[in-house]
């Protein structure tokens, strides 16, 4: 039996290149999401290191101001759209069907298309560096700086078009997971029995479905401004730059919760397992997540206090923002309540989860300080804000995603990441992270604006910037330690048991890594922590290793090239808008080729029998 598990799990045996390109298996798609997002995360990290090196000393000339602007624009864009979001998508893809006891996602080929659109969009954006035209207008692309008049090169075209492409990937994934969670849960898994990660994923998808159309509209308007000379955002033609800010932040604020809610979910899965106690206040956790998401749509203008909206608007958005602290506080207290009275096991995933709580408290409190509008007028657009959102997005999201990586690695790859190296990783990351971002609070309060490529000596910014730069390299080193851990783990390839941590949820009942059809027998659920209930009933701490099965009689959709074709078509279609202005007719030939490719792809996709290439079990 053990040998056959080993054969199954052998990473090298995962198939040919073509099988990866055509896969519609949500688990393979999850792994591809994770691998490509991690690669983009590394690129974003290298950008950050160059930024920090430039800022280590006053009046530095390591990079030109032009390149610096490209670096911070791409760092922000990359970390948000190509790093944190798709790393969360890796967990959605791999684990949502497993957590709800499903054999597949609702739309497997749409899922594959989402993956390829994301990868191609990410490559497209980074390709701009090779053209020496990386986006340079900030990740918020404020008009009129992002207009053709003030950004004449291709730089902001790469940004506008890249984000539209990535938006398609996010929307497709949003539709898919929204439907999957609502329609494909195991028998007996009512909404209030869903694992917390499933809940936060569902709420995240609702946020995606409501907020991405807004940014898509904004980007289309900006593209029309840039490509065809309209003036939605330019004053000369009667437009208004404030329109861009409102549209952008109506998307941009919910986006923050799109980045952090999956992290909340991951933490809520990990803490109970390593405390050996159920999640404290489950329903409060569900409702607070939903409440946070709801409020997230009502606070966008707190990014715009400095625009002078007037005292009434400032008051409304201040108070609405403060309200978010209540459900967030409830979550933190409930996590501590989960630990309370538990039997805590300090494995690496648990360390990262605890690090998450500790860091997120800091980021949350500085967030409340920002909601105080008059004080925000001093803090906004300074390094205080940079410190704040890195405490949320790195100390929060990245710590949680790392916790999730350690926690679920054995299920994904059938091997265990090394615990000792993992603990080194954690302590180095915790130290590096705090050394990088804590001093930024001081730099900001002492008056250092953000997005400046250098600063003069004599304003007292030197010490804090030097600390932050040293910290950044320590942080980068901790990521190298993580990569070393992955490499060692893949090299040794020691098989992991199905349930290494004593888990509570359904994914631990099936082999590591799972068979293509996930569950040989579709589970029936009667509890919130079904696997713990099973173990308690059987009087054991871990379940016996699940038996492998031939999967005979189980039908899964077959691999398909068409999602990839459609993704390529979408990419080509949008590239056409970039080169359009060098052609005489309104839609360049490249756009038409892209459109045809997409149309043919969708047509063939629609008429391809779902199991034409399905493996016979």
């Amino acid at each position: 039996m053990a040998t056959s598990v080993l054969e199954q799990t052998h990473v090298a045996k995962r198939g040919t290149l073509a099988s990866w390109l055509t896969t519609v298996d949500h688990k393979k798609i999850g792994i591809l999401y994770g691998a490509s997002a991690f690669l983009f995360f590394l690129i974003g990290g290298i950008e950050a290191l160059i930024i920090r090196t430039q800022l280590a000393r006053p009046d530095a000339t390591l990079v030109s101001p032009e390149f610096y602007n490209q670096l911070f624009t791409m760092h922000g864009t990359t970390m948000i759209f190509l790093g944190v979001m798709p790393l969360s998508a890796m967990f959605f893809n791999f684990f949502i069907p497993l957590l709800i006891g499903a054999r597949d996602v609702a739309f497997p080929r749409l899922n594959a298309m989402s993956l390829w659109v994301f990868i191609l969009g990410g490559l497209f954006m980074n390709f701009s560096f090779l053209m020496n035209a990386a986006p340079n207008g900030g990740w918020f692309g404020y008009a009129p700086l992002s207009s053709r008049q003030y950004s004449p090169g291709l730089n902001m075209d790469f940004w506008v078009i890249g984000l539209q492409i990535l938006g398609i990937a996010s929307l497709a994934a949003g539709v898919n997971f929204f439907t999957t969670i609502l329609n494909m849960r195991a028998r007996g898994m009512t909404l209030m029995r869903m694992p917390m990660f499933v809940w936060t994923t569902l709420i995240t998808q609702i946020l995606v479905l409501l907020s991405f159309p807004v940014i898509t509209v904004a980007l289309i308007l900006l593209m029309v401004d840039r490509t065809f000379g309209a003036s939605f955002f330019s004053v000369g033609g009667g437009g208004d730059p404030m329109l861009w800010q409102h549209l952008f932040w109506v998307f941009g604020h919910p986006e923050v919760y799109i980045l952090i809610l999956p992290a909340f979910g991951i933490i809520s899965e990990i803490l109970p397992v390593f405390s050996r106690k159920p999640l404290f206040g489950y329903s409060a956790m569900v409702f607070s997540s939903a409440f946070i998401a709801f409020l997230g749509f009502g606070v966008w203008s707190h990014h715009m206090f400095s625009t002078g909206m007037g005292p009434l608007a400032d008051t409304f958005f201040s108070l609405a923002t403060m309200l978010i602290a209540i459900p967030t506080g409830v979550k933190i207290f409930n996590w501590i309540g989960t630990l309370w009275g538990g039997s805590l096991q300090f494995k690496t995933p648990m360390l990262f989860a605890l690090g998450f709580i500790a860091m997120f408290i800091t980021g949350g409190l500085s967030g409340v300080m920002h909601s105080v509008a008059p004080a925000d007028l001093q803090q906004t657009d300074t390094y205080f804000v940079v410190a704040h959102f890195h405490y949320v997005l790195f100390g929060g999201s990245i710590f949680a995603l790392t916790a999730g990586a350690y926690y679920w690695w054995p299920k994904m790859f059938g091997t265990m990441l090394n615990e000792t190296i993992g603990k080194w990783h954690f302590w180095l990351m915790l130290a590096g992270f705090n050394l990088t971002f804590f001093p930024m609070h001081f730099a900001g309060l002492l008056g250092m604006p953000r997005r400046i490529y250098t600063y003069p000596a004599g304003l007292g910014f030197e010490l804090f910037n030097m600390m932050a730069t040293v910290g950044a390299f320590l942080l980068a080193f901790s990521i190298l330690v993580f990569m070393y851990n992955m490499w060692v783990t893949v090299r040794r390839n020691v098989p992991a048991p199905a349930d290494p941590w004593g888990g509570a949820t359904l994914e631990w009942t099936i082999p590591s890594p799972p068979q293509e059809w996930n569950f040989t027998v579709e589970p029936v659920v009667a509890e919130r922590d079904p696997v713990w209930a099973m173990k308690r009933a059987a009087g054991v701490r871990t379940l016996p290793e699940p038996t492998l099965d031939s999967g005979k009689g189980i039908h899964l959709p077959g691999p398909s090239w068409w999602p990839l074709v459609v993704a390529v078509g979408i990419l080509v279609f949008f590239i056409g808008f970039m080169v359009k202005h060098s052609y005489a007719f309104p839609f360049g030939p490249i756009t038409i080729v892209g459109f045809l490719l997409t149309a043919v792809g969708i047509f063939k996709w629609a008429y391809e029998a779902p199991d034409a290439n399905a493996p016979k079990h």
């Binding site: 400032d314 309370w340 800091t362």
Partner: protein, 387 residues
Amino acid sequence: MIRHLRISSRRHLPLLLLGLVAVTLTGCLDASQYPQSTLTPKGDYAEMVDKLFRTTLWLATLVFIIVEAGLLWAIFKFRGKPDDPEPKQVHGSTTVEIIWTVIPALVLAVVAVPTVQTIFETAKVPAASPDGQAPLRVDVVGHQWWWEFRYPELGITTANQLHVPVGRTVDLRMKTVDVLHSFWIPQFAGKRDVFPNRETRLWFTAKETGAFPGACAEFCGIQHGRMDFYVMVNTPEEFAGWVATRQTDSLLGPTGLPKPAPTPVVDSTAKAGKGDVVVAAAPAVPVAPAAMTDPKVAEGEKYFATKGCIGCHSLNSVGAPKGMIGPNLAGIGVRKNIAGGWLPNTDENLHRWIKTPQLVKSGVLMQVPEMTDAEVDALVAYLRTKQ
């Protein structure tokens, strides 16, 4: 044992960080080292904000200590061994959950009340200054990448160095001619964005004389990092003198050449104190007698007219001619800084700036023709006489 050590080092980390906060905020660090700090307000607006900020900060710190302590306590207290029996399966408690929902709400209410008060207090420009006068109106115009300051009531224009009298409220009305900028003097007031199509307002009253740095806070393109300026807070007398000096700029012809030749007066009360502000006590044609006779100055004057400088820059701060797209250079000879307010105004820097603007501030919109070093030196000598 090792586990114990690890846990205690975790516990100490936030305390260390907190100590750092406390040390900084209690002012153990020398405030004069941080002239752009928001923590040492020098004006009434900034003081109101600072008071509110400190309230929030101490509350946040208190909450931070309590919650992190609770977390660390739980971590320390409830660490278990793998073979420990299963702990009690507690699913929640409505009572404690209500308590920890209500308490944060109360803490927020404590923050919310002064927040709303301060929002309304800072929203309106006071009708009268503390010194009894009407506020001084200054129109601010943002440009990529420098600041223009117009005094409509006084009829003068200057750039990158804002002169205001101490104790008098300054009423700023702001616009930009290109992209968004954000006007920020941390020691006097919070920042306010500047738009091309909409006038935004800001006000402050400086309580101390001296030179105070300001910056553009909204990303505005390639030289966003070099869009700084200085606020020169003068005594009312110094300020009157400065205004008078600027108003006599109109005695200069449109090319900057002096029209008549009244007796030049060198200002005897000029004070080269903080920030090298030199202010004339009485109206005077701002040209020193020695400089007048320097042939280099005359040569520089010629280059200013013939090398294209005059196309963008005016040396006359009164009723600056239309189409002057570069900063007004009246008084450039004694300004603290050049090149968008960050480069000290030395002969050497001025030379470098005129000769190779793209090397000093790449992406800057200033265009200069090829000039020899001698020509540039003459130009520098001429500009230096503009006081």
